[in-house]
């Protein structure tokens, strides 16, 4: 009936976004530095060594595109979840402190020169940092925390991890280590391997499942916490799933790519009107939209021919911030 037409529209939006992700994934695999297309590159390398050409595809292009999907989906999904949970369109995945915790963990690995100690040292440090941030948040705010307490706790953790990260830079043993830290923090998908994809995947899947399980509760939260509670959603459990899930998935994402800004903020914001502002209905489109945006931005960073490649996190913020301003201006015009 009436709800079916709305639901057809909903699946059409998801199908469209999914198509876009597939297209951009293919683009990410196909397009190289300076817009050099894969077949050309492949032929060139294959002249020397055919196995090497396959290796480029498997170990360079595929993990990069796969990480683009995973990280983008994580940022879009958790951004939508936190905006729904906090009933605030300005919330973003970093707000609970897990991403700055992950950044700090990874930076400490660089600082102590452990990055060369193993392929996964940085990632392990990042995930450990995210988990530590979550535990700290729990110890700070307790089990039945109010939303405001949660936000303040997250802000405190973010500020403290940020300060420690700066301290690590400040006291950095060598300019080279400092450089490494700074570049890593700018956020990038280049030079990643399949090992890293397999490493972050379990954390992300668990995180996604936890946050996705809150979809209906987020719909109920449209009417406030009391009403959501009387609609049968245990608020303590809903908050715990949303926060732990976000911490796990975003912590894993940050540990492998560094900080990629604005995706988790802008994507849910942009897609919300398309799903009729339903917080629960926003989750899937937002995950797909996040994946599409990160893949697209990661293609853009490859376009300059000479010089160093612009970092992904820089590009998403460069594109995201003006776009966000545009949204605010439009909102202001609508309410005026």
């Amino acid at each position: 009936m009436k709800y079916d037409t709305a639901s057809r529209r909903y699946w059409a939006i998801n199908a469209g976004l999914f198509g876009l992700v597939v297209l951009l994934f293919a683009g990410s695999v196909l397009i190289g530095r300076g817009f050099e297309l894969l077949p050309a590159k492949f032929a060139e390398i294959a002249k020397i060594d055919r196995a090497l050409a396959w290796l480029v595809l498997e170990q360079v292009r595929l993990p990069r595109a796969a990480l683009g999907v995973l990280v983008g989906a994580t940022l879009g999904l958790t951004g939508a979840v936190l905006q729904g949970l906090l009933r605030n369109p300005l919330a973003e995945p970093g707000i609970i402190g897990a991403s700055s915790g992950a950044a700090l963990g990874a930076v400490l690995v660089f600082y102590f020169g452990l990055a060369a100690g193993g392929a996964m040292a940085v990632q392990l440090g990042g995930v450990a940092g995210a988990l530590l941030a979550l535990v700290t948040l729990y110890l700070l705010v307790g089990r039945h925390a109010a939303i405001v307490t949660l936000i303040l706790g997250g802000v405190a953790i973010t500020a403290f991890s940020g300060a420690l990260t700066s301290l690590a830079l400040n006291l950095s043993p060598s300019p080279y280590a400092a450089m490494e830290i700074v570049f890593w923090m700018l956020g990038s998908l280049s030079d990643r391997s399949m090992t890293q994809v397999w490493f972050v995947l379990p954390f992300m899947i668990v995180g996604w499942a936890l946050v996705a399980s809150t979809a209906r509760a987020l719909d109920a939260l449209t009417l406030g916490e009391d009403t959501a509670a009387t609609l049968g959603f245990n608020q303590t459990s809903v908050k715990a799933r949303a926060i732990i899930g976000t911490g796990l998935a975003v912590g894993a994402a940050v540990s492998v790519t560094g900080v990629i800004g604005f995706v988790g903020l802008v994507v849910p914001h942009l897609l919300r009107p398309l799903v009729g502002y339903r917080p629960g209905g926003l989750l899937l489109p937002s995950a797909l939209g996040g994946a599409a945006l990160v893949l697209a931005a990661d293609i853009i960073v490859r376009l300059p021919v000479g010089g160093p490649e612009p970092k992904l996190g820089v590009v998403t913020s460069l594109l995201g911030a003006p776009f966000f301003l545009f949204l605010i201006m439009r909102m202001r015009r609508d309410t005026a």
Binding site: D219, A220, T230, L231, F233, R278
Partner: protein, 262 residues
């Protein structure tokens, strides 16, 4: 047949005891008005019944005890049998009216399943009852205060729970919309055989629409029963600290405050 029983209920807020030893028996369907001055504990009492705050004593809904710390299954089961409309309820997102009303069906949905036809019918019934069906496609934030109040009420009606708790449903509405909302609540209680408990400040409306009133004063029940036995001049003067003019127009009683007694 729905039955609500409160036995020796105590509830505190921020360390201060708000509800003292309240016992109440609502043996069957009806529209119950909860009246009393500001700070008497009306909202605390209704929130305790909704299991939103911890309490001591017993609350029995159809013989089943409620408690603040309950298992997820119990929460779900309770959510089907008890609907609550908060004071100053509002929607945080500009969602479509029919979608908002449909949120009332969440307790009835199986995990991962969509709304069934029975749920859609319940949403339609609730929208008809609250007379908001014609706004179904509108964004709830574009409606006027009176329209929005009816939409939010329709959301609570859509649960089709045997017990409906509403906290000041007619505050900040004009006289026309006050009557509309009171009629909706009266019909919900009468036609469907359910219990409606409403916190009310307008004593004339309470006297006119409610089957029974409970007058709360300093966290205790001062009087309970049919409106005429509760809203006596003596009770009103004592509890509200005002002298009132009380008159009748046919069946309808009206109560007008004249002066403060202190």
């Amino acid at each position: 047949m729905t039955e609500l029983v409160l036995r020796h209920l105590h509830a505190s807020l921020g360390g201060a005891r708000i509800i003292h030893d309240v016992s109440l028996d609502i043996p069957g369907p009806g529209f119950i008005g909860l009246v009393g001055p500001n700070g008497a504990g009306k909202t605390t009492l209704i929130r305790a019944i909704a299991s939103l705050i911890p309490f001591e004593g017993d609350i029995l809904l159809d013989g089943i005890p409620l408690s603040h710390s309950i298992s997820p299954n119990h929460v779900r089961n309770l959510a089907r049998r008890l609907a609550y409309l908060a004071q100053n309820a509002e929607s945080h997102w500009p969602i479509e009216v029919s979608r908002l009303v449909a949120l009332g069906r969440l307790p009835h949905l199986e995990p991962f399943r969509k709304m069934r036809e029975a749920d859609e019918k319940a949403v339609e019934r609730a929208m008809e009852l609250a007379d908001v069906a014609r706004y179904r496609g509108r964004d709830v934030m574009s409606l006027s205060g009176g329209e929005r109040a009816r939409v939010l009420l329709a959301r609570a009606l859509a649960v089709e729970a045997p017990l409906l708790l509403v906290d000041e449903p007619v505050a900040s509405l004009d006289p026309y919309h006050q009557l509309r909302i009171m009629e909706v609540l009266e019909n919900y209680a009468k036609n469907a055989g359910r219990i409606v408990v409403a916190v009310l400040h307008d004593l004339s409306l309470a006297a006119r629409f409610c089957d029974r009133l409970v007058l709360l004063h300093e966290g205790k029940i001062r009087a309970a029963g049919p409106p005429d036995t509760v809203l006596t001049d003596e009770n009103l003067e004592d509890v509200y600290r005002v002298k009132v003019f009380s008159g009748r127009e046919g069946e309808t009683r009206y109560i007008v405050p004249l002066s403060r007694t202190e």
